[in-house]
C-alpha cells in the first residue's frame, strides 16, 4: 500500500511555521516514514501544475499556513482544499490573520505608500508593483494584492485549526503522532472543526507568576518600566499582557521569561472576538471613575486596535478598517 500524501503550503506568512515543523527534530523522520510528501515548497521543489494535475482529495492532509492576501493565495487555498481530504489551518496567519492581518487597519494605497515611499525606501522613480507588465519577452504577471487579508476559513472550508505563531513544536509533534496513529488505524480523527495542539484555558493557566486581584492605575510599555519583578503577574506590574485572553498551549513561553503575552494562540474556547475580551477585561479593572482619569490610564495603550487584535484582527468581528473593507468586491 502506498503511503498517504502530505502537503504543506505557505500563503501570506513569514516561514516561521515551516521552521516550527522542522523543529520537531528527528520526529520529522516519522513524517517521512509514514507519508509521501507530495507538495511542500519550503522543503522541496514543486510546481503548481503538479498539484493541479493531482486527483481531487488525493492528498490526505495539508497543513496550510499563512493568510489570504493575494489572488495567488486564494487560488492555492481553493486548489489545496479540492485536492485534500483534510485541510488544516496551521498557525496564527491561517487561523486569524496574525501580524500580516494588522495591515487590515489600512487601505491598500496606504500599504503601498508605506512600503514603497517611506523615508527608509530608496525608490526615486516611485515604482509600484503592477499586476501585469510588458517586457520584450512578453507579459510578466504578479498576483494582485486583495483589499483585505482573509483567514483560510473565510475562503474555504477548514477541517482543523492549529493556533500559534508559530505553533509550538511539542504540540506539532503530538499532532503528528495522532495523525500517524490514525493512518495506522490505531486512533480516530478528532471531531471536525476541532482546535488541535492547544489547551482549553488561557495562558495564565500555565503561567508560573504569582497573581492577585487586579487594579490598573497605569499601563506602560516594557521599555518604560525601570525594573520588572520576576515573580509577579506582568499585568499587575502595568504591562499589557494578553495572557488572560489568549488560549493556553504554549506553556506560557513569553510571560515565564518576563515578556508579556502578545496573544498569538488566539481566543480562548468559545470566544467570538479575542480583542474585545482583552479590551473589556483591561477596561474593567482600570482604577478610575472619571472620564478624564480613565483616559489618563488608557492613554498607556497608544495603539489599542494593534494591541488587542495583534494576531486576531482579520478574524475579528470587524475584520478591518472601514476604508479597507470598502475596497472589497
Amino acid at each position: 500500500m502506498s503511503k498517504p500524501k502530505f502537503a504543506m503550503y505557505w500563503a501570506a506568512s513569514c516561514g516561521g511555521c515551516e521552521i516550527a515543523v522542522l523543529n520537531i527534530d528527528e520526529k520529522v523522520l516519522d513524517l517521512d516514514a509514514n507519508f509521501d510528501v507530495a507538495f511542500w515548497p519550503a522543503a522541496m521543489d514543486a510546481k503548481y501544475k503538479d498539484v493541479e494535475a493531482m486527483e481531487d482529495e488525493s492528498i490526505l492532509v495539508t497543513l496550510f499556513n499563512g493568510s489570504i492576501r493575494t489572488d495567488e493565495n486564494e487560488h492555492l487555498a481553493k486548489l489545496l482544499r479540492r485536492k485534500s481530504k483534510i485541510l488544516v489551518a496551521f498557525g496564527s496567519c491561517a487561523n486569524e490573520g496574525c501580524i500580516p492581518g494588522l495591515a487590515n487597519l489600512s487601505p491598500r494605497e496606504q500599504i503601498f505608500e508605506r512600503a514603497y515611499e517611506s523615508p527608509s525606501t530608496e525608490n526615486p522613480n516611485h515604482l509600484r508593483p503592477q499586476a501585469a507588465c510588458q517586457v520584450p519577452e512578453g507579459t510578466l504577471t504578479l498576483p494582485p494584492l486583495q483589499a483585505v487579508i482573509r483567514t483560510l476559513d473565510q475562503v474555504v472550508e477548514v477541517d482543523y485549526h492549529v493556533p500559534g505563531c508559530p505553533p509550538e513544536s511539542h504540540q506539532i509533534a503530538a499532532i503528528l503522532d495522532v495523525l500517524i496513529q490514525v493512518v495506522k488505524g490505531e486512533a480516530e480523527l478528532p471531531p471536525k472543526g476541532a482546535v488541535l495542539g492547544a489547551g482549553n484555558s488561557t495562558v495564565c493557566d500555565e503561567c508560573a507568576r504569582k497573581r492577585d486581584v487586579k487594579v490598573i492605575d497605569k499601563l506602560s510599555r516594557i521599555q518604560e518600566l525601570p525594573q520588572l519583578n520576576t515573580t509577579d503577574c506582568l499585568l499587575e506590574q502595568g504591562l499589557l499582557c494578553a495572557g488572560p485572553a489568549t488560549r493556553s498551549g504554549c506553556n506560557s513561553r513569553c510571560p515565564n521569561v518576563g515578556a508579556p503575552c502578545i496573544g498569538c494562540y488566539g481566543a480562548a474556547p468559545g470566544v467570538l472576538d479575542q480583542g474585545a475580551r482583552l479590551m473589556t477585561a483591561i477596561a474593567s479593572v482600570v482604577d478610575a471613575n472619571e472620564p478624564e482619569a480613565i483616559d489618563r490610564v488608557l492613554n498607556g495603550i497608544p495603539d489599542p486596535a494593534g494591541s488587542f487584535y495583534r494576531f486576531s484582527l482579520a478574524h475579528s468581528l470587524l475584520r478591518a478598517n472601514r476604508e479597507a473593507l470598502a475596497e472589497e468586491p
Partner: protein, 683 residues
Amino acid sequence: MTDNSKPESQERIGVYVCHCGTNIAGVVDVESVARFAAEDLKDRGVVLARDYTFMCSVAGQELIEQDIHEQQLTRVVVAACSPHLHEKTFRGVCERSGVNPYLSEMASIREHVAWVHTDKAAATAKAKAIVSGTVERVLKNDPLEAIRVPIDAQTLVVGGGIAGIQAALEVAEAGYEVVLVEREASLGGHMAQFDKTFPTLDCAACILTPKMAAAGSHPKIHLFTWSEVEKVEGFVGNYTVTVKKKPRYVDEDVCTGCGICVEKCPVLVVDDKFEAGIGYRKAIYWPFAQAVPNLPVLDPDTCTYYVGGKGGCKACEKFCPTVPNSIKFDQKEERVTLRVGNIVLATGWDLFDARRIPQYGYGRLPNVFTNLELERMCNAAGPTGGKVVMRDGKSTPETVGIVHCVGSRDRTYNRHCSAICCMQSLKTAHLVKERTGAEVYNFYIDIRTPGKEYDEFYQRVLDDGIHFVRGKVAEITDIPFDPAEASRNGAGTLYVQVEDTLAGMQRRIPVDMVVLSAGLEPRRDSAEVGKTFGIACSSNGWFIEKHAKMDPIATMTEGVFIAGCAAGPKDIPASVSQGSAAAARVLNYIRQGELALEPVRASVLAEQCSGCRLCNGLCPFNAISFDAARKVTEINAALCQGCGTCVAACPAGAIQGTGFSNAQLFAQIEGLLRDFSRVPEVV
C-alpha cells in the same frame, strides 16, 4: 459565540401578540406582526402565532395554557407590555402548564413601540424586529430553577428613631428576635428633639417616649445604643453583622441611672446634639431626660480625666454609689458579631447646615435661628424653659420672620423638597405667635400641605393673623439700607430682603428674629453606610428603593429594607408607616422560612478559568472569591446579585450568566437585525 448545539428545530414556540385594547393595536398592525412570526419565523421554530385583545386577561392566559397542551409548545413569546409589568404573569402561565417558567419571554411592543411612535408602518416594522429578537433569545433560554435560601429569624434594625423603633416593635411583637442598633446614646432620633408635632400639636415626647420605653424593655429586642454596624457579610437570610460598641465609660450592667455623677460633674459644655447648640450639658450626661436606656454617657473630648493632662477631677467616680463603681474610665471599644436574616435600615436624616447660605446670616447674626433651635426653645424642658427669646436669652421678639425652603428646592444646595418644612414652619409660626404675641411673617415659595388635616392647620394659622409673603428670601442683613431705614428701626433690627411675587415688588421687612426652616439632607455618611450594607445611594445621598412607587421599602439587595427618611424626607406618620411596612416585609420572609431568588446568576466554568484573577475585584457584593489551591475563581451564587459585570469582563469567556447569557444576547442581536432592510422608509 452563538451556541448552535441545541436542536432548535425541535423547539415549538408560540408567539402571542397582544392588542392591549387599542393601546398597541391602535399603532401597531398586530395581525401583521403575528403573521410575520408565523410565516417568517417558522424556520426558527415558531409553530403558531396569535394576536389577542388582552393577553393578560384570564382568557388570554387560558389561550396560552390551551396551546401549550394542544400544540405541545415548548417555549412562549408574548409581545405585549414591559416585562416589568407582566413577566411574572406569563411565567406563571408556563409553570401551570408544565413549561419551565424561564422558557418564556416578553417582547415590549407597548411601552417601547406603540406608545412612543406615531408612524404605523415604522412601528409595525419595529415590533416585528423586536419579536424576531425575542424569538431568537427564547431559543437560547435555559430552563432554570429559582434559588432557595433559608431565612434566619433574627432581624437587625439600624437606627433607633421613630421608623426604626416601629419596625423593631412590630417584628418583636410577632415573636421574633430583633437587634436594634442606634448610633447615639439613646433611642429617639430627631423626633425626641421636637416640642410639638403638626398638625395636632401633640407633645412629641408624650407620644414617642412610650414607644421608646416599650422598645427598651421588650424581651425580644436586644438594644445596642452608642453602637454602629461596622461590617455586613452574607446574603439574604444569612447575614453576619459586626456591631461596634463605642465606650460609654459607664458600666451598663451596674449603673442604676441615679444621675449623681451628672449632678456632680463640674464640666459644662454646649450641647450641640440634643439641644441643637442652644443649651448645655455636662461632660458626663444623659442624652436627654427620657433617654432609653436610662444610662449616662461620658464624653472623653471634654472630661478632665482625658483632657488637660492633670488626671481629672474624677468627681463622677468618687460620688458613684454603686458597687462596683459604674464609672469605667478605661472602657474600650467592643465588637459583637451577630447572625441575622433581614436588615431594616432606618438611619434617618441630617439637618441642612444653614451656615452654608451666608447671606442668611446664620452663625453671624445672633438672632437668626434654625427651626431645630426653635423646637428646643419651645420645649418646656429645653434651655429656655419653653420661652421664645432672642439670643440674649431675655428679650421677647416683637416681629419674627420664618424662612421656608432653606437649603431645599434650591439648585445651589438641594433640589429636593424637604416635605416637612411647610408644616413645621406653620407650627413654629403658631407656637411663636401663641407664646410671644409677635407679628410673624412666613416667607415661602409654595405652601405644601398635602397630609391629613394639614391644610386645615394652614387655614388655622392664617386665621391666627400670621403674615405670608410669597417669595424666596434674597438676604437677611443687619445693615440698614440708608440712615432713614436705620432710624426707623433702631439698632439690631434684621432686614429680610425678599421679592414679594404676589405684590410684585421688592420688600425689606424689618424683624427682631429670623427662624430658618433648614431642610432635611441625607446622612453625611450615607454613601459609606450604603456600601456597608450593599445598597445604592442616589448621587445626592438618599438610599435608592427597589422601585420608587411599587416597592419603596425593599432595596436592590435582597433582605435589606429601608424605612423612614433614609430614602427621602418624610413626616412622622409616613416614617411610622414605613417602619411597619418594613416589618411586614421582614415577617413575610421569616414566615416563609426560605426564599426563592431570581436565578439570574453568574458562574465560573472551572476548566476554562485560568485563575488570572482579573474578575476578583469587580464584585461589590463580594460574591467572587479565589480558590488558591485549585487556582480557579469561584462565584457564590447566593451572594451574586446577577449584574453580569464579571461575565462581560472575563477575558477567557469562562464566566457564564444565567438568564442573560452570551448565547441569548448574541441571538437577540441577530434577531433584532434580521430584517433591518425591511424597515419602511419614514419621511
